[in-house]
């Protein structure tokens, strides 16, 4: 179960406007899947970072980062903006948000509508299906 802090932070990294936020777009599931498979090694440092963020929130008088109002969340976030874990998390969030839907986030390639990217493929945004015997860890997947 992803922590409320993780979800709240993702939605400040990619906030909602007229287009979906990170979690509405499935970015949390995308990142958790990468962490669970071991394809990305930043889970530990992110967990420590999220704890740090909760501590900063409690110093500011909130039960947790998720409980703080968005405007406070954004100020707290500035304090960790230069850390490696935070920058890695932003990178993963963008990967999920802007990659093809087959990667688990970005349903209906909605972010592509937002930016005006046209895939132009006869089969749809993911192209032909992945070859299942090869789309596996250790083969074509890291």
């Amino acid at each position: 179960m992803p922590s409320a802090t993780f979800l709240a932070l993702l939605d400040r990294i990619i906030p909602v406007d007229e287009w979906p936020s990170a979690t509405t777009s499935g970015v949390d599931r995308f990142i958790l899947a990468l962490w669970q498979s071991g394809a990305d090694g930043s889970a530990g440092s992110a967990a420590a970072g999220l704890e740090e963020l909760d501590k900063l929130a409690s110093h500011a008088g909130y039960a947790s980062f998720a409980d703080a109002p968005e405007i406070t969340q954004d100020t707290l976030l500035e304090q960790v903006a230069a850390t490696v874990w935070f920058r890695q998390l932003c990178e993963l969030a963008a990967e999920g948000y802007y990659a093809n839907p087959g990667n688990g986030a970005n349903p209906d390639a909605i972010s592509w509508h937002m930016i005006g990217y046209k895939h132009g493929l006869p089969e749809g945004p993911d192209g032909p299906p992945a070859n299942r015997s090869e789309a596996r860890m250790g083969k074509l997947w890291a």
Binding site: I13, A99, G116, K118, G120, E123
Partner: protein
């Protein structure tokens, strides 16, 4: 399988595919050995935007497989890393029938006549191993023409700096996009000549295959309309059609087989088979041609030591694997007021060759051009201004508002070779077959970085003159250069003392062992290299066919 081969060609990529065709059509019996497999849009065209040969964030889309094929990479600070095929330091190209030619953007350049004589034109910078090519542009010109017509290039005669051509291109050039006119106007303001770059893509139906349908994900993927002309859908098909060429895919050349006197007799192969069954066998032939790419061809020579050549075949002068080079790519992005990008592939529409030579105070230069259509995830990773936060609405709105407003100018810098940039065999790390793996080390020559900075300025000035609101782009740091344009590790030459092969790719001291791929390039040109690799492939295999 019949066993009486005239020649074994190792590697079914750019040069290897051509060798198989030329030899088989000349009546020779050829075995083409490829570690990768047959791939096409249908079985490998899946658009995984995070796992492909343009963005390898979590894997790739051909091979080698992520597990079992490590290399050792020594970074610029001297630290050693075990790297996997999708990692930066691996310097992967691709592993499939066709190699990079299945996936490439297909920019199809002839090198400039003076690219063949850099030493004569500029002198030898200290610490470099700069040499002239042993052949001239004029000698290669007819073979360039063969590559353009037999593989299939779209283009026009707009390059006022190019060497002499006797024939046009078989197909009309690519269409423009909205940025093209702005970049052309900017160039004209600066007195820069421009034209549409030549490309190995069907702009009209040709050779029994359709034209490009301008999808939004060109470079790094197989083509949905099979409009990319690679070796897998042209010359390799011709080779197989002769009935004299056999291809073994999923098969690794382990080492070059020699007899007791150190003479080459064939290749020791590992057939990976289905599952994990590995079948090892020796196949003999009258001649062996290595076309495994600049890193793996050098590795094969190094891994095939004999009593008389204890450091590898052709390596008694410690030259095999040295002078590894590629292309530094200075890149500048520019933000326009209007929407200038339309996500139509391929996306390269305008180039200049005015800065390939004659730049004040630096060695050589680069062809400069706009770039291939960018996947959104690649745009995020490469094209954002350095001062833009990577979180919050600012980042999101930049993507929303400017994905279609940012264009770029970049180009491959003609590098000054350095002998310390090299492939050696690591003596500790083995791959899944028990072979010692390549160890890649060295840092690009400082003169290359000076040319990079000069080309960066030219690109910036061009964008600024084209009506951009602002431009950005970081100068690349010193590191090893190789990557998809890897070259130089078995340089050819007239002088046995300073080259690995003769001017036709025959390894000195070995009457029947040849290299034919980017390894031969004494220098790698100020352009994408594949048309030169192909032209050399035609020339060298034509020579071998006459000898056999």
């Amino acid at each position: 399988m019949s066993m009486d081969f005239d020649a074994i060609v190792v590697g079914a990529g750019a040069a290897g595919g051509i060798a198989a065709c030329v030899l088989a059509e000349a009546g020779k019996r050829v075995l083409l050995v490829e570690q990768g497999r047959w791939r096409s849009h249908a079985n490998s065209g899946h658009r995984d935007h995070l796992r492909n040969h343009r963005l390898q964030a979590h894997g790739i889309n051909t091979g080698p497989y992520v597990d079992g094929h490590p290399r050792i990479f020594v970074d610029a600070s001297g630290e050693t890393h075990v790297v996997r095929p999708h990692d930066d330091g691996y310097h992967n190209n691709a592993s499939t029938v066709g190699s990079g030619t299945l996936l490439y953007g297909g920019l199809a350049w002839r090198f400039h006549p003076d690219d063949f004589r850099l030493k004569s034109r500029y002198g030898v910078p200290k610490g470099s191993s700069l040499v002239d090519w042993p052949i001239s542009y004029a000698e290669l010109a007819p073979w360039y023409e063969r590559a353009e017509w037999e593989i299939g290039v779209a283009g026009h005669d707009g390059d006022t700096n190019s060497g002499a051509r006797t024939r046009g291109y078989p197909m009309p050039p690519l269409p423009p996009k909205p940025s093209t006119a702005k970049l052309r106007a900017g160039a004209t303001n600066l007195g820069i000549s421009t034209f549409t770059p030549p490309i190995l893509i069907n702009t009209v139906p040709r050779d029994g295959r359709a034209a490009c349908v301008q999808c939004g994900s060109c470079v790094g993927f197989p083509c949905p309309s099979d409009a990319k002309n690679g070796t897998q859908n042209t010359v390799i098909q011709r080779a197989l059609a002769t009935g004299r060429c056999e291809i073994m895919t999923g098969t690794v050349a382990e080492r070059i087989a020699t007899n007791a006197r150190g003479r080459v007799v064939g290749i020791d192969l590992i057939d990976m088979g289905e599952g994990n069954a590995e079948i090892r066998r020796r196949i003999t032939a009258r001649a062996v041609m290595l076309s495994a790419g600049a890193i793996e061809s050098a590795r094969l020579l190094l891994a095939s030591a004999t009593d008389s050549e204890p450091h590898g075949l052709g390596n008694n002068r410690d030259l095999v694997g040295r002078n590894l080079q590629g292309h530094y790519y200075p890149t500048v992005f520019g933000l326009f007021e209007d929407e200038v990008e339309n996500s139509h592939g391929p996306g390269v529409t305008i180039a200049t060759t005015d800065f390939v030579h004659g730049n004040e105070g630096v060695v050589a230069g680069a062809m400069l051009a706009d770039d291939f259509v960018m996947l959104p995830a690649i745009f995020w990773k490469q094209a954002l201004p350095p001062d833009l936060p990577r979180f919050g609405l600012k980042a999101k709105h930049f993507m929303r508002d400017n994905y279609r407003r940012v264009s770029q100018i970049k180009g491959p810098v003609h590098e000054v070779p350095a002998p310390d940039c090299r492939v050696t065999l690591d003596q500790t790390c083995k791959d899944r077959f028990g072979r010692f793996v390549p160890r890649l080390s060295g840092v690009v020559h400082p003169e290359t970085l000076r040319t990079v900075a000069a080309m960066h300025e030219k690109a910036e000035a061009w964008l600024e003159a084209s009506g951009t609101i602002r431009t950005w782009g970081a100068l690349p740091a010193p590191r090893l250069s190789a990557g998809q344009h890897q070259a130089g590790t078995c340089r050819m030459g007239d002088d046995e003392a300073i080259s690995v092969t003769d001017p036709f790719g025959r390894v000195w001291g070995h009457p029947n062992l040849f290299v034919s791929d980017a390894s031969l390039h004494p220098t790698n040109g100020a352009y994408n290299p594949v048309l030169t690799i192909m032209a050399m492939g035609f020339r060298n295999s034509d020579n071998l066919a006459k000898m056999l």
